[in-house]
């Protein structure tokens, strides 16, 4: 079990190529906000996001900063602080293509990729207008049933990159995700997994079965960078709460394009000019 070396945040985000299909975790599972800001600063372009299954500030920032051409999502919102302003503007102006989905379909698509099967079946959903607008979703007759029994098939979702923030990595490069098991699924389903962590745990999670239970093994992970409070202003499970004042202020400020630009300049820093 060799020892791994963390890399810098800036080096980490160079491993998210322009045009990548990027998996974006929900707020409860380690939103990689420091990495998102670094990604905006490096001037990432043409990203296609898949939110697992929804997103708040992370998707809204990436969309507002012009990094995104497409987003598959069950919802983008600022939760109790209302609509996600950049997402809403971009969706209405069609500067970003929104591929509407539903939470269990996104989970199922990732599970299909985890098994490298072309699809997973899912009950329900039939009759939703989502189905009409998802030519990639297929309704078939359940081949296991004697008589007609329509069922929906959800195609595999294979992100190019999974990027998330977690409490800690150990000296072997394993990452502790606790009970946020969707992070394991995302990593399994993705070609490349990049992680930021609060700190390095001295030793191996596998020396303690209690820690091992929440570990994502190193062989799924391509690179790790340390980013203290790397999920802020979003919270991090078991570590810190969201900064509600920051989020409330963002919801207000980003209501106008000019307000969003001011936020970006102040909180994120200068983005490189678009290529």
């Amino acid at each position: 079990m060799s020892v791994f070396a963390p890399i810098s945040l800036d080096d980490l985000v160079t491993q998210v190529p322009d045009g990548a299909l990027l998996a974006v975790p929900a707020d409860y599972s380690g939103a990689p906000m420091a990495a998102t800001r670094a990604l905006i600063r490096r001037g990432a372009r043409n990203l296609r996001l898949v939110t697992v299954p929804q997103s708040t500030l992370q998707a809204d920032l990436l969309i507002g900063a012009g990094c995104v051409t497409e987003v598959e999502t069950a919802a983008v919102t600022l939760g109790e602080f209302g609509i996600a302003p950049c997402f809403t503007r971009a969706a209405l102006a069609k500067t970003v293509r929104v591929i509407d989905a539903t939470c269990p379909a996104i989970h199922a698509g990732l599970q299909a990729a985890e098994k490298d099967v072309p699809f997973l079946p899912l009950r329900g959903i039939l009759g939703s207008d989502l189905v009409k607008h998802r030519p990639d979703w297929k309704t078939v007759d359940n081949p296991m049933a004697a008589s007609g029994d329509p069922i929906l098939l959800i195609p595999a979702i294979r992100p190019d990159v999974a990027l998330f923030h977690a409490p800690m990595a150990d000296r072997e490069g394993n990452v502790w995700i606790g009970r946020r098991r969707e992070l394991a699924t995302i990593a399994h389903a993705s070609r490349t997994t990049l992680v930021t962590v609060e700190r390095i745990h001295d030793g191996s999670f596998f020396d303690d079965e209690r820690l091992a239970a929440g570990a994502l093994p190193a062989f799924y992970i391509q690179a790790i960078a340390i980013a203290e409070r790397g999920a802020a202003p979003v919270g991090l499970f078991g570590e810190y709460e969201p900064d509600l004042d920051h989020l409330r202020a963002y919801a207000r400020e980003a209501r106008t394009e000019a307000g969003f630009r001011a936020y970006l300049a102040r909180e994120v820093g200068t983005a490189k000019a678009a290529a």
Binding site: I83, H107, R123, D129, P150
Partner: protein, 244 residues
């Protein structure tokens, strides 16, 4: 004492729609349904499990984001609450946008898990405070979750009731129609009819929604308010202010 806040009336009214069950789940950003679920739990003689996704204490899922949906598919969740930016007379809900998709004139966050939960959870309770022709429409612009399904389509559950700031309606899935069950205190049947964009059945005389009794209000203001403070601090502070 019997001065009852609108949120208290709605929580008690939602709680009254919950049948005897083992497991009630409440999605994100739903303080009034959360209060209703906790109220039902507090008054139940049996052990009732309440999952509130928004909470740490009331969320014991350990299998990732899919577990709510898988557990619901397994039939382990008996009651779930859904809202809708639009809700129509066939209990379809719209969480996506106004206009002809994808050419929307207004964009909402998205469908979340509604198209799934509406099928797999036996008792779905629709909840929308605003009761107006804008929210309760003849036909939703976009069906996030259909209120009913044609014969031959697997479906375990669906919308059973609709609670708004004005009234309570129950949904008759085979007939694809709502029926007015009660009108909130101080409101009239006429008002409900005018505020509703869809056709619905009305009894000759709609009863008044029961106002929560003193015991219920006591529970809400003490035990339930204390629990809500953990995960809906703003809501709890506004609706259940701690006496100075």
């Amino acid at each position: 004492m019997t001065e009852c806040r609108p949120e208290e009336l709605l929580a008690a009214t939602l709680a009254a729609q919950i049948p005897d069950v083992r497991h009630i789940a409440v999605g994100a950003a739903s303080p009034i349904p959360a209060a209703a679920a906790l109220l039902h739990q507090a008054r139940s003689k049996e052990r009732v499990h309440v999952t509130i996704l928004h909470s740490r204490r009331y969320n014991s899922f350990t299998d990732g984001g899919r577990e709510l949906f898988d557990a619901a598919a397994q039939g382990r969740i008996d009651v779930f609450f859904l809202g809708g930016v639009q809700i129509d007379g066939e209990a379809n809900i719209n969480l996506v946008g106004l206009g002809e998709y994808p050419n929307l004139t207004q964009r909402f966050p998205g469908s979340f898990g509604s198209p799934y939960m509406a099928f797999v959870v036996p008792n779905v309770i629709l909840f929308r405070e605003e009761h107006s022709p804008r929210t309760l429409v003849r036909k939703v612009d976009f069906v996030s979750a259909p209120g009913w399904s044609p014969e031959g389509v697997w479906r375990r559950g669906g919308p059973r009731a609709l609670v708004t700031g004005l009234a309570v309606m129950t949904f008759d899935a085979p007939r694809r129609r709502f029926r007015l069950t009660s009108v909130h205190p101080g409101r009239t049947t006429e008002e409900v009819r005018n505020a509703t964009g869809f056709d619905f059945d009305m009894p000759d005389r709609a009863p008044t929604t029961a106002v929560p009794d003193a015991v219920t209000l006591g529970l809400l203001r003490s035990e339930i308010a204390a629990k809500l403070r953990e995960f809906y601090p703003d809501f709890a502070a506004r609706v259940f202010p701690v006496p100075a």
